[in-house]
Symmetry: C2
Subunit: 249 residues, 2 copies
DNA sequence: CTCCACTCTTCCATTGAATGGAAGGAGGAC
DNA sequence: GTCCTCCTTCCATTCAATGGAAGAGTGGAG
């Protein structure tokens, strides 16, 4: 073994960094690109990528580029917090989608962000910026507000103590304002996020409770900002309750 | 480093074996179980699992059991052949679901099996045995017949040369019979798989073509065996064509 | 309380798997 | 042909990985 480029870095960590190099803006990459983004020497990357391809975690296409492979996705489809949750929730999401034909989404809390685990949208609805597998900040989205409002007090204080990123003129950036919003969310059991990220859309979100009576997800609808959110609140609440019931078996 | 339990086995391969230990029937496991299924000594498993948890590929719950983590799923959501395909196809799958309220599925070919990448089903439809992220043999499912019929000749011969597993009295197990079915699929551009796995269901499937005019997926509907497949053929074909069009930009 | 069973966690001397610069190969453009 | 870019291969060296064994922790039974 020659000198390592990075003393202390384990193989496992390096492999995970290879996977982590893939982003929505970098879905297909050459070996050199992977090595660059993973911070690994080319030879090392070549070896690790080779093994990942052999197993199916990465796949290689005709242009000698690599993309995430089906095999990894198969394993990941066992994740209870994403694919598992989605499976239980899907009928109710579909019902809501069918009733409204708007963007219907389901998200969970991870770290200090909301991770979107499902999104049903047809071709007519406004184009919400969320993406299945993507993340958005808690304070600026309907689902995020719900997840935050129902998280433990310490966590809320932590989020409130950090800077609240601004996306546009309507983004909540004051902790004081966010506190008030969170209190309303808890009272109303619904969150409305009005044009916080995009001026054309607003979202209505409600909490999904799990078996221990803790909020495990948030369900939302994204509609045009020209619509009235109150028209959607009962449907969103209903769908979220149905998912909650299904989760508590 | 002490003597390895398995000379020649790389760390990467071992890590991947840890991930591979997770199955639909083993979604939550103790460390000992993971070690057992991955064929690793307890200490080794403990170390590798620890790193995977740190990164988020595995998560640990209150009962000291591990499950697949959200972070792995996030990366996997970048897989063009599953999540990516699903994203493009979803509006059309939804349309078909809404029109029929039956089980709607999308599958791709991997190895010698069909892998289900999407499945929309409500609470009323028959309970198809497929699972998102799951696999089924090509000869016994609608999507599988389509994927097989449109695969290259060599591959077809390979599948036809191997034993065709029987699921029930109606399963196609004769290569001769399968050959005839495949020819009909190619002619009709639709496959009907009638009670091949379960006596209560049949599926109607059509090919989804990609940019190079090759079949990249199969779209199907699963209905009660008491229904007439011909009533669904036009809708399934239409939906598959729409997805094909969307994939070819 | 003690004892037992089970599972997990920690340790560390040893070694075997990993390393990455350098050379060579492949393909494309001029 | 040369030049450039990216990938692939090689191997002496080293450092990260190893796993049995001991210890720790937990829960249940008596």
């Amino acid at each position: 073994m020659a000198q390592t480029s990075e003393p202390g870095a384990s193989v496992t960590a390096r492999v995970l960094r290879v996977l982590e190099a893939f982003r929505v803006e970098r879905q297909r990459m050459t070996l050199s690109e992977i090595a660059y983004w993973a911070g690994l020497p080319l030879s090392t990357a070549h070896r690790l990528v080779g093994e990942l391809v052999k197993w199916g975690a990465l796949e290689r296409d005709g242009d000698e580029r690599y993309h995430v492979g089906l095999r990894l996705w198969e394993i990941a489809a066992l994740s209870p917090r994403s694919a598992g949750l989605r499976e239980v929730a899907l009928p109710y999401l579909e019902d809501l989608y069918e009733a409204t034909h708007e963007n219907v989404q389901l998200a969970v809390l991870d770290g200090i962000e909301a991770v979107y685990v499902e999104r049903l949208c047809g071709r007519g609805a406004v184009n919400a910026i969320s993406r299945v597998g993507g993340r958005l900040p808690l304070h600026a989205t309907g689902v995020g507000l719900v997840l935050l409002a129902y998280s433990d007090h310490e966590f809320q204080e932590q989020v409130l103590a950090a800077p609240l990123r601004r996306f546009g003129p309507k983004t909540i950036t004051s902790p004081r304002h966010l506190r008030r919003v969170l209190a309303v969310v808890r009272q109303e059991r619904v969150a409305v996020s009005d044009r916080q990220i995009e001026m054309e859309t607003l979202s209505v979100a409600a909490p999904v409770f799990g078996p221990s009576d803790r909020v495990v997800a948030a369900l939302s609808i994204v509609i045009s900002a020209r619509c009235s959110p109150s028209a959607y609140i009962p449907a969103v609440r209903t769908a979220a309750r149905s998912v909650s019931r299904a989760l508590c078996g």
